[in-house]
Subunit: 333 residues, 2 copies
């Protein structure tokens, strides 16, 4: 008999097929591989083919938009939103709109076209996290923005249009719905219980153990109780922390280590799957609070069904999170 | 400059690329074609290869599970939920779950393997709608259910696992999140305004005209103001009506005609795309109300990006609804 489970934060119910759970080998799809061979605007030497860089680490002496960098951030050449102008909010009868003011940036994670995030070193992954942080802190000075979304599409199946490994950032004049829901719901929980719901989840999961994938001193990777997707994973700081960008320096190194190991396990168990991840952090102006707990949500792209879930908010997950966690825990690296 | 638009019902903001809107020919994908050739459990003669039928129309004299039917409803052979047993709700610390009681049925829309819903006659489409209605009314007698979800995945890219054209129905002991949100939000609007928000949208859209695709006496097809997907379309009854299954007989014929013409236009403009649709109607026990307006949400499957949207509730739509509506309005049939 399958099971209906409710996510305590979003209130979303999902169907978990507990009987005939799909194992990693049951998901038929292509591995993500870096093929190279064609022109790549993100490779060193082609710096002039991107818009002028915003940030680069690792370059020693040479000028902007030249090789020698280890991580490089540039504006998206085809941005979803435009950076110039004032926010203009308008009504149109029943409807509300505003002009599309925002920033859309690309974080090029390594100069090496053949690498994936998983194949980088701990140190390089830490640099990527620092680039995320530095860009968020800089963009927060722009008073037009309410939220800065960090995310990665890895592999064509997950929506990546360029092969060279990169993450993206979108700064928005509104807070995205899913984030607003999570923040508001955890606020309601805090108002009743005087505790952060994520902290409570971490406490319970640590005791239960069946959905814990891995952990270190500062972070824990969990298969959530009511995941939408097979092998969905959340990475959370163990201690309460409401914003990604306001961490002490050692935290990024610690996250990089855990994230790296998680990515290697994911590649080992699912044979280099396409995936998406997003960083959920508190909205701008609400950074310091006791109710919201920043985290990474990782969603491997294993199943095809899509529009139905979009239309209903209703998910059928063929792999119980306890099994997903066990596979990832027991991965041979 | 792109535009941020807010859906008045769900409160979801989307980015609409108004500048360089994608035209139908800009979406590269495979047309959905019925290939046939391999064994099909939904074809006449193979009735014994499905679970015993629940409903069939058009059979004249011959017995159950034999050929001669025009529309046939059977249990899903691999159901997401099980029909047997009592609902058992349990807590597990912070978490909530229940056993997966529900119904999962398949509506085989035609005996002809080569047909698509769009290539059927008005009359056959009407029969499909009657089958939807009859199954919903029957399942509502089961007191364990709170919602009955009607949907269709058309084409492999939209999640269809069998080629022979069919729809699905899932009866659930809970109300899906997206439906709950819509119903609650329209209730809040009604409490303030004493009007149905969908009726207000229809009134405004009829006056504006730019997002109207087609209409007849009883129904209207609109490109919504803040669509998540290119060519997303809603079909709504013009007059306030809160549940799909409680309509006077002529209504299903009228919807079939409009839906048929819409599907033909969609196939003409987008070259037989994969799509999903869902019917959003009031939850069981709330069928008669002044605030919620049942409708069909049609989502052609044209773009690949997915996990990011799932993680954020944030959508980037490359085709303004005004352009989508114009293409569909001006389609050459």
């Amino acid at each position: 008999m399958p099971e209906l489970r409710k996510d305590p934060i979003t209130g979303r119910w999902v169907i978990i097929s507990t009987d005939r759970g799909k194992r990693p080998s049951d998901f038929v799809r292509e591995s993500v591989q870096m093929k190279g061979g064609s022109f790549c605007p993100f490779c060193p030497g082609n710096e002039s083919r991107t818009p002028p860089e915003i940030l680069a680490y690792g370059r020693n002496g040479s000028g902007r938009d030249t090789p020698g960098w280890s991580v490089r951030v540039v504006p998206n050449k085809f941005p979803a939103l435009g950076i110039e102008g004032n926010l203009d909010r308008q009504g149109e009868g029943l409807f509300d709109r505003m002009n599309g003011i925002g920033a859309h940036e690309v974080i090029i994670e390594t100069p090496d076209h053949q690498s994936t995030l998983a194949s980088l070193t701990d140190k390089s992954i830490e640099e990527v996290l620092w680039a995320y942080r530095d860009r968020v802190l800089d963009l927060k000075n722009d008073k037009r923005f309410r939220y800065i979304l960090l995310f990665k599409n890895h592999g064509e199946a997950a929506g990546a249009s360029l092969e060279h490994t990169h993450s993206q950032l979108i700064a928005l004049p509104i807070v995205p719905k899913r984030v607003r829901e999570e923040v508001d719901s955890s606020k309601r929980y805090f108002d009743v219980k005087e505790r952060c719901i994520f902290c409570d989840v971490i406490r319970q999961e640590t005791e239960t153990g069946t959905r814990v994938i891995l952990g270190n001193d500062q972070f824990i990777a969990l298969a959530p109780y009511a995941p939408r997707f097979p092998f969905e994973t959340w990475i959370l700081p163990r201690q309460h922390s409401s914003s990604f960008e306001n961490q002490a320096s050692p935290v990024y190194g610690s996250l990089a280590k855990l994230f790296h190991e998680f990515l290697r396990r994911l590649d080992a168990v699912l044979n280099c799957p396409a995936y998406n991840y997003v960083i959920h952090t508190s909205p701008i102006g609400e950074e310091i609070n006791e109710h919201y707990h920043w985290h990474v949500e990782m969603m491997p792209k294993l199943t095809r069904v899509a529009g139905f879930e979009w239309g209903t908010g209703f998910y059928i997950n063929p792999t119980p999170p306890e099994e997903a966690a066990r596979f990832l825990r027991e991965a041979q690296l």
